[in-house]
């Protein structure tokens, strides 16, 4: 996503008056045809932006279903509560301050500006004056951006599932969506120093996925593993309660990703842009397919069984990997980028588990490991990509998100505690935190 053209407001009044004064009546009709085209293109691009944003919003449902499917039945209500609440918190915090930090400009590309609340949208005159340069509503831009923040935060909830306190998590969400995410977002998409460096991240393998995974890793390290996950050095499986739900969640995420990557082309109203959007759709889809097939085959070869949950993670791995550059590769190369993501995710899940870092849904592997892979792949799939710039971007995003998150988690741990009691964990956080069960008609495990 490139730096947005927006807020070129008040300079135009004098120029507008001058232009009106010298305009001859004979030109009026010709100008109005041109204006109509600008009107239409603006409407079309804004419409495309809004619908893409709505698709990305639906990814919140995907994450909810995926996570609810991969935790135990006794922790379902709480993970759903976290998901609906984090989405809402993200929307409010980003509206109050996050968007302005990310896209408000700043003195030197490192320190972002600080302002609050959303500005007014473009007026008709401004848009016509710009000759189509301003090509979508600034509020549609906000809407598209806000759902990305929620995605980054959703990544965290899965990794810390089944043992983190609800209110500690939601407090973290406030800081993450209002501050941590927007600052590094400014560095890249807001036109900050990472952007100036030539770091490429089309739709957020780094800015969204690596960011969320880094925050999740910091949380998991301070939080510790679920009870019964690592007993006397042996890794125990804790099977998810509802694999149909996890599968539905994966398909919803897959669908939402067309908005995530497709919308990040930012424009569809010309033939070139329409072709580019089509390419992004095709590559996004085929990368997911490649990731799924690769993960399914590797799990069959490695464990002797075709593990559905690994296949689901494989599809997401492919999607995360192609997100950094879904436009320049051919569909075959995009499939390979996704497939490598699918292989990486299976290995990462196993080795992260062996390192006794307990991530119930594989979020750190999917979004962190494959986010890094996707960013590195840009250096090979986009002629403008540079390995040094990509590595710098990866290092900066990880260091910032992991470092600040660790501090915030640490403060939360000291002030309110981040982990439920052992008894609450064994009983299930549904009853302990939310006071109700997801499946009251079934006995608990």
């Amino acid at each position: 996503m490139n730096e947005k053209t927006k807020y070129r407001k008040y300079w135009g009044l004098a120029a507008f008056l001058a232009a009106t004064a010298i305009a001859v009546p004979a030109l009026a009709e010709e100008a109005s045809v041109g204006d109509t085209v600008i009107h239409l293109a603006y409407s079309l691009d804004t419409f495309y932006f809004l619908m893409s944003g709505a698709l990305v919003m639906w990814m919140a449902a995907g994450f909810s279903m995926l996570e609810a499917g991969l935790v135990r039945g006794k922790n379902t209500v709480e993970i759903l509560t976290k998901n609906v609440a984090l989405y809402s918190i993200a929307c409010i915090m980003y509206m109050i301050v996050g968007y302005n930090i990310m896209y408000g400009g700043g003195p030197n590309g490192v320190i972002p500006g600080l302002s609050f609340f959303l500005g007014a949208d473009h007026t008709v005159d401004e848009v016509l004056k710009s000759g189509g340069e301003t090509y979508y509503s600034s509020l549609s831009d906000f809407f598209f951006q806000v759902v990305f923040v929620a995605t980054a935060m959703s990544i965290v909830s899965g990794a810390v599932a089944e043992r983190m306190k609800l209110w500690a998590f939601l407090t973290f969400a406030i800081v993450m969506t209002g501050f941590i995410y927007p600052v590094q977002g400014y560095w890249k998409w807001g036109g900050g120093f990472l952007d100036a460096l030539g770091f490429l991240d089309f739709a957020g393998s780094g800015v969204v996925h690596l960011c969320g995974a880094s925050a999740a890793l910091a949380g998991v390290l301070l939080l510790g593993a679920r009870k019964g996950k690592y007993v006397n050095g042996i890794i125990k499986a804790i099977p998810g309660a509802n694999l149909p739900m996890a599968t539905l969640g994966t398909f919803i995420l897959w669908l939402g990703w067309f908005g995530f990557n497709g919308g990040s082309e930012l424009k569809i109203s010309t033939i070139d842009e329409a072709n580019a959007v089509s390419m992004v759709f095709v590559n996004t889809n085929t990368a997911a397919a490649g990731g799924l097939v690769a993960a399914l085959m590797l799990s069959r070869a490695w464990f002797g069984k075709a593990d559905l949950t690994m296949a689901l993670n494989g599809a997401l791995a492919g999607l995360v990997a192609i997100t950094a550059e879904p436009l320049t590769p051919t569909p075959l190369v995009a499939t390979l980028v996704g497939a490598i993501g699918g292989l990486l995710v299976v290995a990462a899940i196993i080795y992260i588990d062996k390192a006794k870092i307990d991530d119930p849904v594989g979020a750190i592997s999917v979004h962190g490991v494959c986010g890094i892979w996707g960013l590195l792949a840009v250096a090979f799939t986009n002629p403008e990509g540079s390995l040094i710039a990509q590595l710098t971007g990866i290092g900066v995003i990880f260091a910032w998100c992991f470092g600040t998150s660790l501090v915030v988690w640490f403060i939360l741990k000291a002030v309110m505690g981040i982990r439920v009691s052992e008894e609450e964990e064994l009983e299930g956080v549904d009853v302990a935190e939310c006071g109700l069960a997801a499946y009251p008609e079934f006995t608990k495990e």
Partner: protein
């Protein structure tokens, strides 16, 4: 009067029910149970890690009948539930002191 409690593999329920219906048994009580015997539990795999399922799912069939029918019923259950593999289950025969039909208050054999 005797009570027969049969623990069988879940997928054999239909076959056992049909076999019992064929020899004129008119009612039974069925429940989903878990347990293990010589078969022990089994291992399953999730995301590359094994876990033990110590208690296997089984079906328990309970029926009460006149003592002279026991052999015929036990044979029918055994024939229908047998796969000749470990884990096929067990059949228990237990004496019953009395039976009472709630609606009418009939007792003993009449109430079965």
């Amino acid at each position: 009067m005797k009570k027969i409690e049969a623990i069988i593999k879940p997928f054999k329920l239909e076959a056992v029910k049909d076999a019992l219906t064929e020899i004129g048994i008119t009612g039974m009580t069925v429940s989903e149970v878990k347990g293990y015997g010589r078969q022990k539990g089994h291992k399953e795999m999730y995301r590359g890690a094994e876990y033990n399922v110590d208690f296997n799912p089984k079906i328990k069939i309970e029926l009460v009948l006149a003592a002279d029918l026991v052999d015929k019923v036990v044979d029918a259950i055994r024939d229908a539930a047998n796969t000749e593999k470990i884990g096929d289950g067990k059949i228990f025969v237990i004496p019953v002191e009395d039976v009472l039909r709630v609606r009418t208050g009939e007792r003993g054999k009449e109430a079965i």
